[in-house]
């Protein structure tokens, strides 16, 4: 099987891996780094459970070809907590506001929300809904997720 060697930054650390060219970013995160936060909900980029941030943009890691990751910076849900282990304001707000039920969509949802807030720190409800429109949730009806993102935007300390 043809392999490719790629170097990129993962949650702030430089990493190099050699994997089959057909692998996608989600598989690399889960298999090479045991980062299980990003989930496969559909495998074809429709549900958003696999969302991570690449160079500031929220992407579906399940359809992100691994050769494309060379030199880029990847942030997954495991990389957003404070260095002291403290929770990110979005993580806190999600727990606080019951924006988590089964939790399977949560990692992806939080990463889409983070990508949004990084670019637009004071989004309107409509902008929030657009920002997470690629992230499906079956449990919550989205209402408490939108509220949690609004709450995090208000409570943020410093940069996201």
């Amino acid at each position: 099987m043809k392999k490719v060697s790629v170097s990129f930054t993962l949650n702030g650390e430089p990493v190099t891996i050699e994997v089959p060219t057909t692998w996608n970013l989600l598989k690399v995160l889960r298999e090479c780094f045991e980062l299980n936060g990003a989930k496969e909900g559909c495998g074809v980029g429709e549900c958003g459970c696999c969302t991570v941030i690449v160079d500031g943009d929220a992407v579906n890691s399940c359809i992100y070809p691994i050769p494309e990751i060379e030199g880029r910076s990847v942030l997954s849900v495991e990389g957003i907590s404070g260095t002291d282990g403290g929770l990110h304001p979005l993580q806190k707000a999600f727990l606080e506001n019951n924006a988590v039920q089964c939790g399977f969509c949560t990692s992806g949802m939080i990463m889409s929300a983070k990508a949004l807030l990084d670019k637009n720190p004071e989004p309107t409800e409509d902008e929030i809904r657009t920002g997470i429109s690629g992230n499906f949730c079956r449990c919550t009806g989205y209402v408490q997720i939108v509220e949690a993102i609004e709450m995090a935007a208000k409570n943020k300390e410093g940069n996201f």
Binding site: E78, N97, Q101, R138
Partner: protein, 798 residues
């Protein structure tokens, strides 16, 4: 002010921090040493004979560890009516029939191996319409029944017949009668986490099954029985839940893939994981049971209901899971939503070559309530009575015994109706026919357990350590509803500790006591009642310990004070205040005399007593552990399908305002008020979460969601073509929590997991009628159906 410290508060879900940090281990994340990956080969036909299967090429593929067909494993029947085998050997009866299975070192290799299995079929005539399937000359889906006797008809031997009062008399007493035909369709539960399990045997043939089941104990029993039937007598089974990515009914039955994983694990002697793809989730998981209803009901001149008659046909699909038992829940709204003296309900379940069905949030209630509540509006129109008024005239009342013998205890249905009526501005907005319309629908649902098995029990064990940390071994499961948070609040309240002291372990048959399952909106009600009883025992033990040790602790402290401070005056303490357990109480981690809660010396942090009293020496050591098994005072349905199967019932009403685009047929929801009787909300934010989520799911059921089957094949097995609502589909849901504490509920609570979904679709259908004057009683109400109905109406008028 509430008398409670913790229940009733919106405690955040910090107990589930792992879910926001990516650390929670779902079945997709679970790995066991040496684990193999299983994949399943499904049928290529809806109905066919299997002429031959050649697995030789697949077996030779590098990395393949086992290939199994129906010829390789004992032909043991499984399922509710024992009407299928794990791998199908001779005949396939639906597209999802499991024909072969592979275990390999990676999912990719297993998938590749499936492609190398050659199956030769001989297609058989199939039947896809339940009404066609009932005809005498219809192709038979099954040739023999579970006992090997020949079958003559596709109609299942499950006669759902319910009758109360006298329908003919009711008809005579009627001034107005409405008759409607109603249809509901297949809906996929769409759990974000797909189905899967890991099966692992030890060398003594004992099995650990990591399963997402929400009935760990019943699930375990099914597996025990299966192992026994394949010749593994004496095998022990432990069922363990990982974190579960949603259930909504899918985890109520033990699915075939779980038996397949067991077979592959047995064959390979390695742990085997089967994890569904999203496409499999759509194609091979039993969806919500569809139903065809003919409903007729009448009322007298004053609007009092006189009778209700319902005939239902259920497309069972090729095999029988819990879908076929949904009539046991359908009969609840049919017999008992509003006061109706004469009721008849017959349901016929029919085998077809379609996908077989199972439970989904609300069981049969959303289907039946869609029929009852759209028909209520038809009847209101016949009678010229405002639909809200008709509902109020016939409103259920506390203390009522319904025709099904349900004992209604608390019942704020009239409050629910009046609340949404006011919120949506009913009188002002109704009846305009200007493209905007409003409608309402109500519900009744079990909210205090559901005795569908002989025991509706629930066990719990509460242990307290010397630090005052509380471990709760809880026999239910959490599929996302937030039970760990709510149970920690209830345990804290009952024990006098704090929610953050409480850790919850659930979903493990080896550790936890028996439970009938986390279904029927029963977890809070059952776990709470069990917790109160278990905590009562544990608390007594702590208080006995306190009586024994508090005097010495107080004296020790006083003496130390005296040593440090020469001026200290020894107080004259009345030790009778703490001389008996009954004189003491615990709240917020402090033990204190009831007569003097703020006593300067007798008020004591629990761990002081626990440290002194627990592991202190031979003959002196103690444990604090309270267990309870709560089984509510309810009845199973008798032969007439009557009986009070829940300890209490929940009511609710949803009112919806819609705008219908006459050009495109699109329906937009402008307002949705959902008033729900929850007894007492244990955690208001979580209660609202249940209502939001269920209402959204109900809007999908009403307007967009349909598993499309063509000749038995699922045509839309992906999120692009299966229309689940996204965050951009704004539905302005306003949950209205109606509190009327229930005497049987723990701290007054009733179940709320399912109710939010139930009245949503009929409320929308009724609002659409109010907006444009066409009644669509075939779910989902897509834009196409609205346009067709509008055109038909315009044609009739011209």
């Amino acid at each position: 002010m509430s008398e409670y410290l913790y229940v009733g508060k919106s405690t955040p879900r910090t107990i589930e921090t792992d879910k926001v940090t990516g650390r929670a281990v779902y079945i997709s994340d679970l790995r066991r040493p040496g684990m193999l990956f299983g994949k399943i080969l499904y049928s290529r036909y809806a109905h066919a004979k299997i002429k031959s299967i050649d697995t030789s090429k697949a077996e030779k593929l590098q990395g393949v560890r086992a290939v199994l067909t129906g010829r390789d494993i004992p032909e043991v029947r499984v399922g509710f009516l024992k009407d299928q085998t794990v791998l199908k050997k001779d005949v396939v009866r639906q597209f999802r029939d499991e024909v072969a299975a592979v275990a390999a070192t990676s999912p990719e290799i297993a998938e590749e191996a499936l492609g190398l299995i050659e199956v030769e079929y001989e297609e058989l005539p199939a039947v896809f319409d339940p009404i066609e399937a009932m005809k005498e000359d219809a192709p038979l889906v099954h040739e023999i029944d579970a006992r090997g006797r020949p079958v003559r008809s596709n109609i299942l031997p499950l006669p759902w017949k319910f009758s109360a009062g006298d329908i003919e008399q009711g008809r005579k007493d009627s001034a107005y009668i409405a008759k409607d035909n109603v249809r509901t369709t297949w809906v996929n539960q769409c759990c974000m986490g797909t189905s899967g399990c890991v099966a692992e045997f030890d060398m003594n043939n004992n099995l650990t099954l990591y399963s997402q089941t929400n009935v760990p104990f019943l699930g375990k029993q099914r597996i025990v029985e299966y192992l026994r039937n394949i010749g593994l007598k004496g095998s022990r089974v432990r069922v363990v839940n990982p974190i579960v990515g949603g259930s909504f009914g899918t985890k109520l039955d033990t699915d075939i893939y779980e038996f397949i994983a067991v077979q592959l694990a047995l064959r390979t002697r390695k742990p085997v994981k089967i994890l569904f793809t999203r496409e499999e989730e759509f194609r091979a998981l039993p969806p919500r049971q569809p139903a065809i209803f003919e409903i007729e009901q009448g009322c007298d001149k004053e609007g009092k209901l006189t009778f209700r008659k319902v005939e239902a046909i259920l497309d069972n699909g090729a095999y029988t899971s819990w879908g076929a038992t949904t009539p046991s829940v359908m009969m609840m709204p049919i017999s008992s939503l509003y006061r109706v003296p004469n009721v008849s309900f017959n349901a016929t379940c029919v085998y077809t070559n379609n996908i077989y069905c199972q439970a989904m949030r609300g069981y049969g209630n959303p289907q039946a309530t869609f029929a009852v509540e759209t028909s209520m509006d038809s009847l209101a129109e016949e009678a010229g009575i405002d639909p809200a008024e008709l509902r109020l005239i016939n409103c259920n009342k506390p203390g009522e015994l319904t025709p099904m013998r349900l004992k209604i205890t608390t019942c704020p249905l009239d409050r629910c109706i009046k609340t949404v009526q006011e919120k949506i501005n009913w009188k002002e907005k109704r009846g305009k026919r200007n493209g905007r319309g409003i409608g309402m629908a109500s519900l009744i649902h079990v909210a205090g357990g559901a005795r569908v098995y002989k025991s509706d029990g629930h066990g719990i064990m509460v242990k307290v350590d010397q630090n005052g940390n509380v471990d709760v071994l809880e026999s239910g499961t959490d599929q996302g509803q937030g039970s760990p948070t709510v149970i920690s609040q209830m345990v804290a309240e009952a024990l006098g500790f704090r929610p953050e002291d409480v850790s919850i372990t659930l979903g493990d048959t080896a550790l936890c006591l028996w439970d009938a399952g986390t279904h029927a909106s029963r977890h809070t009600f059952m776990a709470g009642n069990a917790a109160i009883r278990a905590c009562d025992k544990a608390k007594k033990q702590i208080l006995e310990m306190a009586v024994e040790h508090m005097p010495e602790i107080v004296e020790y402290k006083l003496k130390r004070k005296e040593r440090k401070d020469p001026d200290f005056q020894m107080p004259d303490l009345d030790y009778s205040l703490i001389s008996e357990p009954d004189k003491l109480d615990i709240k917020d981690r402090y033990i204190f005399p009831k007569n003097q809660p703020e006593h300067p010396y007798f008020r004591m942090e629990v761990s002081e007593v626990l440290t002194r009293g627990l592991h202190v020496g031979t003959g002196e050591s103690k444990v604090v552990v309270g267990e309870a098994f709560y089984d509510p005072p309810t009845e199973m349905l008798d032969r007439e399908m009557k009986g009070n199967y829940s300890c209490t019932y929940a009511f609710g009403t949803t009112a919806v305002e819609v705008e219908v685009d006459r050009e495109t047929g699109e329906v937009k929801i402008l307002n949705l008020f959902a008033a729900h009787d929850v007894g007492r909300a244990m955690n208001p934010t979580l209660v609202k979460g249940q209502i939001y989520g269920a209402a959204y799911m109900g809007v999908g059921y009403g307007l967009t969601e349909q598993l499309q089957l063509r000749n038995g094949r699922v045509m839309n097995p992906n999120f692009r073509d299966y229309k689940m609502l996204t965050a951009k589909d704004v539905v302005p849901v306003v949950p209205l929590v109606i509190e009327e504490p229930d005497a049987d509920g723990p701290f007054g609570a009733k179940g709320i997991g399912e109710p939010g979904l139930v009245p949503t679709a009929p409320a929308i259908a009724n609002a659409i009628y109010d907006a444009i004057g066409v009644r669509i009683t075939d779910l989902p109400i897509t834009a196409e159906k609205v346009l067709v109905a509008l055109k038909k109406k315009a044609g009739e008028q011209s």
